[in-house]
């Protein structure tokens, strides 16, 4: 027997596998992790403090920088919170445009996850394919919003402007293309034995644990909990679309992978229906006051972002700036379970488990 000593291993905050400035201090015995301490906050920008001096419309660009891989849902959550408090009716076309851009964002976000996750565990080429498809989405979002990642597209009461001519047709054309590519991904990766050996049975937790740790999104649905806010607490116009909530029950990294891949398909279903149903014309902005002042009181809404449940709490004094703004950031909550999952694992599984949670550090650190 070889005697091993406990050793501290520092990973990050600059490390390619952490997809941002995430640091974790590991206590290892040989190759086995005994204890893991995540250290976060390297990307904390004080968004909530800054927001207290900003008008609501001015806060929207800050939300782009939280979950920068799916900024449209961030845009939406603050608009939705204010609209809920003010009881605003949103024009049809704006609602459809919002859903389309949010679902495009969801697909793009899952593509980034797919590509980088496989890159992390050693598969090079899927990354390139995934980013090719993602680029197509980003180009579309760029056309409609004027930015590739930090869209700042939504406004309280609607969206900044209507889609350019032919844009809806582009989205319509993208859906079958993406389906085809997705089938290619499955051929390439999903049945791959090396891949399966890396993810099956890794980072397993039960539904009770997932709920206790406040997990959400695919991290929750991989344990068999059928929960999607788009379905269960429908916001916007999500109740008009037929789509399934993919649920898997094994609770490991493999289930999370299947979940996210299936969610791409479901998003494509929603996109397909949305481009059919969208009214061909109409206003994209509700009649809202020039200076937005939600009534005094507290409002909290939560919606389904690609990473889980994103929420927005506003304490208003009836002024043009929020008294207190708080985002429920899914990556922050989802990451909490990491130390628990790592204990007793082989060090090479660190990346598999961390990557499987799908965090964005901009969101973890707020």
């Amino acid at each position: 027997m070889i005697r091993t000593e406990e050793m501290l291993l520092n990973v990050g905050p600059q490390h390619p596998s952490t997809h941002g400035v995430f640091r974790i201090v590991l206590k290892i015995d040989g190759e086995t992790i005994i204890e893991a301490k995540p250290v976060i906050g390297y990307l904390h920008r004080g968004t909530e403090k800054l927001a207290e001096d900003l008008q609501y419309t001015q806060i929207i660009p800050y939300t782009d920088r939280m979950d920068y891989l799916a900024a449209m849902t961030n845009n939406y959550v603050i608009c939705h919170a204010v609209e809920t408090m003010m009881n605003l009716e949103i024009p049809e076309r704006a609602e459809y445009l919002r859903v389309i851009v949010m679902e495009l964002g969801r697909v793009a976000s899952h593509l980034v996850w797919f590509g980088t996750y496989l890159l992390d565990i050693g598969a090079m080429s899927p990354f390139l394919y995934a980013f090719r498809e993602r680029e197509a989405i980003i180009n579309m979002l760029n056309e409609i919003s004027g930015a590739r990642l930090t869209f700042n597209y939504m406004r309280v009461g609607g969206v900044k402007w209507d889609a350019p001519d032919g844009w809806i047709e582009k989205v319509r054309g993208f859906v079958p293309y993406m389906r085809e590519q997705l089938a290619g991904y499955h051929d390439l990766v999903t049945g791959n034995e090396i891949f399966l050996n890396r993810v099956k049975g890794i980072g397993t937790y039960s539904a009770e644990e997932a709920l206790n740790y406040s997990l959400s999104g695919a991290n929750l649905r991989c344990t068999g909990v059928n929960w999607d806010l788009r379905k269960d607490e429908p916001y916007s116009i999500y109740n008009r679309f037929t789509f399934d909530v993919p649920v898997f029950s094994s609770g490991d990294a493999w289930a999370r992978y299947q979940c996210r891949m299936a969610e791409i398909e479901e998003s494509l279903k929603i996109l397909e229906q949305a481009v059919e149903q969208i009214p061909s014309e109409g206003t994209v902005m509700a009649k809202v006051p020039k200076i937005i002042k939600p009534p005094a009181g507290e409002g909290f809404v939560r919606i389904e972002s690609p990473r889980g449940e994103i929420g927005c709490y506003i304490a208003s004094e009836g002024k043009k700036e929020p008294y207190r703004l708080k985002f429920r950031r899914p990556s922050f909550y989802n990451l909490q379970i990491l130390p628990k999952l790592l204990v007793g694992e082989n060090i090479s599984n660190l990346i598999t488990i961390l990557g499987g949670i799908d965090i964005v550090l901009g969101e973890v650190d707020g």
Binding site: G46, E48, S214, V225, G297, E298, G299, V301, Y323
Partner: protein, 501 residues
């Protein structure tokens, strides 16, 4: 607070109503004052300048500049014409300057005149402003703003102090509002006098100059100062009244909303209240107008008396409102089950409250209501010492079974902290919000991390940014900011320790 709606006499009005009324009156008064001020300004301007409208400072500046330019142009033209005439007359004899030179000279003269005019105009404007606002010296607009802000701050502080003293008095059991009023009157009078004296002393020179420029007839500087001082006082009173009115109106509105939500007050009663308040406000406004008129006619320091009275009245009302608020707090808890507003979540809330009361006792909850602004979520407000046991019941009881903590954070409400938790039951598919008020002096509350692991990091974040300590938390350390950070940035009174950051 629900029973007393029918009271007829003023004394019989419920505390809630009095609060509302007082707020409405104060507001109306402030409005009336503002209107009068505007009218005065207009009148003044009419006498001084050819019918200027009460424009903003920015607009006035622009206008003045435009006028000055126009005048300068005109003057230049005139001068040129004169010069030409002169030239025509003089040329044969003297021919001292070339046409070019003369032109230049004319231009220079016109310029000088324009400058002078602009100066004069500025002086006029300043004088005007001085008369209108409590600006002591001919400062720049920016400086004046700053000064005004500083003054307002100081005054607010003073007011707050007084308010506190009054509140203490009120709490001590002083029920006769008349005596409070008298006292306040005296206090305010003394205050006003002292202030007037100080102001008069400090401002003598500058004010005299400005006054002389503006009011050609006035040669003696003393009376001018008095007027100024009284003007100051007036502005002060108005500002105070306005601030107080705004604050009260807000409190009243909030209280009203709460009352309606809680007790399901009929809209009719509210309408009656409003009408009454409006009538009272009108009467008060008329009185104020009269007082003003008499002051304007006489330019007497007697107006100080009026103002002091107004201040005293406003203060008495504030005290009453404070009392009412204190009383309302207890009344609310009793009126709470009488909720009548239909909400799909109402039965849930009733069930939660009934269960909690049955299991933990009748007085563990501070408040329970449907939050209309947050998709009708049932909201429970726990006392800080019952917060944990309520949370425990919410999680473990089979009929409640809130096994998921969706969100946890805190807020600094200046008077207290509040911890906000959004819980969800996947078993019963329903949400609840559990809040707890935390003392700002001793910001400690039980941690929910032993119940929900998911509360671990959010509570650390709350500790880091707000400085609320969660007892029994497994790892109560900073999470976002560096460990050596000083202060808690999301507190409303946070001052950065290191200005460079």
């Amino acid at each position: 607070m629900t029973k007393e709606v029918d009271g007829q006499g003023e004394e019989n009005l419920s505390i809630e109503e009095q609060k509302k009324k007082a707020a409405a009156e104060a507001k109306a008064k402030a409005l009336e004052l503002a209107k009068q001020r505007k009218a005065e300004k207009e009148a003044q301007e009419k006498t001084e300048a050819p019918a200027e409208e009460p424009l903003s400072v920015e607009d006035q500046k622009k206008k003045a500049a435009a006028e000055a330019k126009a005048k300068a142009l005109e003057l230049a033209k005139q001068r040129k014409a004169e010069k030409d005439a002169q030239e025509k007359a003089e040329t044969p004899a003297e021919e001292p300057l070339s046409v070019e030179d003369q032109k230049k000279k004319a231009a220079a003269e016109a310029k000088a005149k324009a400058l002078e005019l602009a100066k004069q105009r500025r002086a006029e404007k300043e004088a005007q402003e001085k008369a209108e606002a409590p600006a002591e010296e001919p400062l720049s607009v920016e400086d004046q703003k700053k000064k005004a802000a500083a003054e307002a701050k100081a005054k607010a502080l003073e007011l707050a102090k007084q308010r506190k003293a009054e509140k203490e008095q009120a709490e001590a059991g002083v029920t006769s509002s008349i005596s409070t009023e008298d006292e306040d009157k005296e206090k305010a009078l003394a205050l006003a006098k002292a202030k007037a004296a100080a102001a008069a002393k400090a401002k003598a020179a500058a004010a005299a100059k400005a006054k002389m420029a503006r009011e050609a007839g006035q040669t003696d500087s003393e009376p001018a100062d008095e007027t100024e001082a009284s003007n100051d006082e007036k502005a002060l009173a108005a500002a105070k009244a306005k601030a107080a009115a705004a604050a009260k109106a807000k409190a009243a509105a909030a209280a009203k909303a709460k009352a309606m939500r809680e007790a399901g007050d009929g809209g009719d009663a509210a309408a009656d209240e409003k009408a009454k308040a409006i009538a009272a406000a009108k009467a008060k406004a008329a009185a104020a107008a009269k007082a003003r008129a008499s002051r304007d006619a006489g330019g007497e320091p007697a107006s100080d008396d009026e103002k002091a009275k107004a201040i005293a009245a406003a203060k008495a009302k504030a005290a009453a409102a404070a009392k009412a608020r204190a009383a309302g707090g207890t009344a609310k808890a009793e009126a709470e089950p009488a909720e009548t507003k239909p909400s799909p979540y109402q039965p849930m809330l009733d069930q939660y409250v009934a269960l909690i009361r049955e299991q933990l006792g009748a007085d563990v909850l501070e408040d329970a209501y449907i939050n209309k602004l947050s998709k009708d979520v049932p909201t429970l407000v726990a006392k800080s010492d019952t917060y944990y046991i309520i949370a425990e019941l919410l999680k473990t009881h089979d009929d409640l079974h809130f096994e998921y903590l969706s969100e946890s954070h805190g807020t600094d409400f200046k008077t207290h902290f509040e911890v906000y938790n959004y819980l969800y039951s996947y078993k019963n598919r329903r949400p609840v919000v559990l809040k707890a008020k935390v003392d700002r002096e001793k910001p400690e509350v039980a941690s929910l991390a032993p119940l929900w692991e998911g509360a671990n990091w959010p509570e650390r974040e709350t500790y880091d940014l707000l400085g609320i300590t969660f007892t029994n938390h497994p790892n109560m350390t900073r999470i976002m900011l560096p460990d050596d950070w000083v202060g808690h940035p999301l507190r409303k009174d946070y001052e950065p320790f290191d200005v460079e950051v």
